[in-house]
Each structure stands twice: as C-alpha cells, then as structure tokens.
Symmetry: C2
Amino acid sequence: MKMSRGVEWALHCCLTLAMTGEDEALTAGELARFFDLPKAYLHKQIQALVRAGILSSTPGPGGGYVLARPLDAVSFMDVVAAIDGPDPAFRCDEIRQRGGSGAIGGPIDPGTRCLIDQAMGRADLAWRRELAATSLGSIQTDVGSARPGLAESTRRWFADQPH
Amino acid sequence: MKMSRGVEWALHCCLTLAMTGEDEALTAGELARFFDLPKAYLHKQIQALVRAGILSSTPGPGGGYVLARPLDAVSFMDVVAAIDGPDPAFRCDEIRQRGGSGAIGGPIDPGTRCLIDQAMGRADLAWRRELAATSLGSIQTDVGSARPGLAESTRRWFADQPH
DNA sequence: GTTTTAGTACTCGGATAGGCCGTGTCCGAGTGCATCTGG
DNA sequence: CCAGATGCACTCGGACACGGCCTATCCGAGTACTAAAAC
C-alpha cells in the first residue's frame, strides 16, 4: 500500500506558497525548479489542489498559483484527499456472502456491516482523524522555529529567478 | 492508495480456520470454493501468511493449512503486514533538500527529520496502533455472538465437501 | 499625444502515452496413502 | 496372513505472464502585456 508521491510534492508546495505570500503567484515551472521535480507532472498534481479548493490559479503572464485560504485552514487530510483520493484504503468485497460461505448460517441482516470492514474502518478513521487534526499551519509554525531565515531566503530565491 | 485485496481474503480465511478448528487442515482449494475466489491466487496470499508465521502448512494428501497460534494472538496488523507489506504508506523523498530548496537557508542538521514526514508518521502510527490493538480473536467472539450457529454450519460445510 | 488594435509570449487545463506493481496463472518438489507383491 | 516396497494422487511452494493504475508528457484554450499604427 503506497501513497502517491504527489502528496509530498503538494504539501511542500503549499508550505512554499505560504512562505512567499499571496501577493505574488508562483508558477508550476518555478516550483518544479525549486524542488527539482518534473514540471509537467507537478503541474498535474497542483491542478488537483486547485480542484479541491486549496489553491487558486491565475492564467496568463504573471499568473500562477496562490493559496486559496490560510494554511491554518488546510489540514493534511485535505491535501491527501485531493491528491490520493478520498476513498478508504480497505474495500470490503463482501466475501462472506459469496460461494459456500454465503449459503450457510441463514441470511445476513442487510443492516449489519462486515465486522472486518468495521475494524478496518476504525483504523482508517484513526488515521484520518490524525491527518485532519494536523494543519499545515502548525507545520509552518514549526518550520519557522526550526529554521528562522528560511521564509526570507525562499522569497529571495523566487525573486531572483529570471522571468 | 489502495490496500491489496488479499488482505480481506486472508482475514476471512483466518476466521474460517479458527471455526473449523486445528484438528483438520483446510486446503487452498477448499477455501477458494468456500469464498468463490481464484484458487491459485488465494493460494499465493495464504503462503504469505505461512511465511509470516500466522498459519502452518502441511503438504501431501490430507494436508492443508491450520492456524499456527490462537486468533487472540493474531492482530489485524500482523495480517496486513504479511499481505500488504510492512512499509509505511508515505515515503519521504527529502525533496526539501533538492534543487533550489536545498541550496538556501544553510545546511540542514542531519539529525532532524522532515516535519511533514513526522506528521505523516504520526498518522501512520495511529493507524497501526489501532490495527495492532484489534485481534482476530475479538472478531471471532463478535461473530460468534452475532451469528451463533455459523461456526457449526461452517464445520458442516467443509465436512460435507467431497474429497 | 492618445486611443485602438493586432500580435505575442506566457499561463493554466485537460487529454494522451509509458512503466511498475498488484493480479492472476502455471508447473515442479515433496509427502502420505493405497495397492501390490513377496515371504 | 503379514511386511515391505512401489506407484500414485494430492498438497504446498515458488517461478512465470497479464492488466490497471500511478507516473510522466504533450498540446490546446485563455489571458495580460507589448508594441505598433491610426486618429
């Protein structure tokens, strides 16, 4: 079970957009150079963030992407759902109702979910709860403490880029 | 992010093996018919459970698989790790140290992990903790309460199968 | 000098190919049982 | 009748193709700016 690599890219891009501020938009190409990533593919991933309402896009020269809302209002869950999809990892195919297994012990009450599915659902919920409880804003704060000059250096880097 | 379908199969097989008891082993073919699953592929998945020490196998006529230990001593985490692999879903590629991002703000203390990776690690841990805390034995107990005659019916079904 | 207008360069956006891992299948090695043979 | 040997059928175990989804890429639609030309 592997998560899409785009999730890491998207998270870092959001943090970077927060550091540079919403006054100037960053293009997909700039972000790709900043992280040494394939431009076209990063572009695709960022589009998913736009569709999810996390980023806002501006076309044309001078355009690019900016955060649609403060990082405090963006959770890890939001980004993971946008990139990796909202569906739970475990999917119950109702094995218990197939073949010989489905023909014994009488009919199953349609209202009762498979107990295995329920257990998996609880674990999935614990995971999602943790992701939803962690906002990108808190990460931004922690990064600010651990590396004080990083935001300023990042702004500099993008300002020094040739247009 | 999708979990392997084999996980569901493996969990149901373990429960079934617990119901039939360790006196008689069930073959991959019998379990495949019981759940209407592709025999060869189920066979492959079950082998992973044997490698993980969850099941014990006996070759030759009259052979098959039995539980290697009581279901109380088998957690969801054990089965998921056996089938789906033990690695965490999120993998940090340290893109913060690549491209322009790695060239600004001074060198990074090698002892500090990426904060994004840490947050993802916490969520993954919450998920694993929940899976590790749920034993298949508890599911077996709940199934026994919800469907009292199921274990007996299951034993009957396998006993009635032609050899 | 001002306004209009055409051109251009740049951006995002979605539609289009390739690669890897999960899915599915196959055949070979090993084992226990039944049968047959010899004493 | 009994013991041993032999063949066989059945099981697991690992090695071998196939397909779907993630990965990666490309080209088209739209926009703001620039510059030239007309008034």
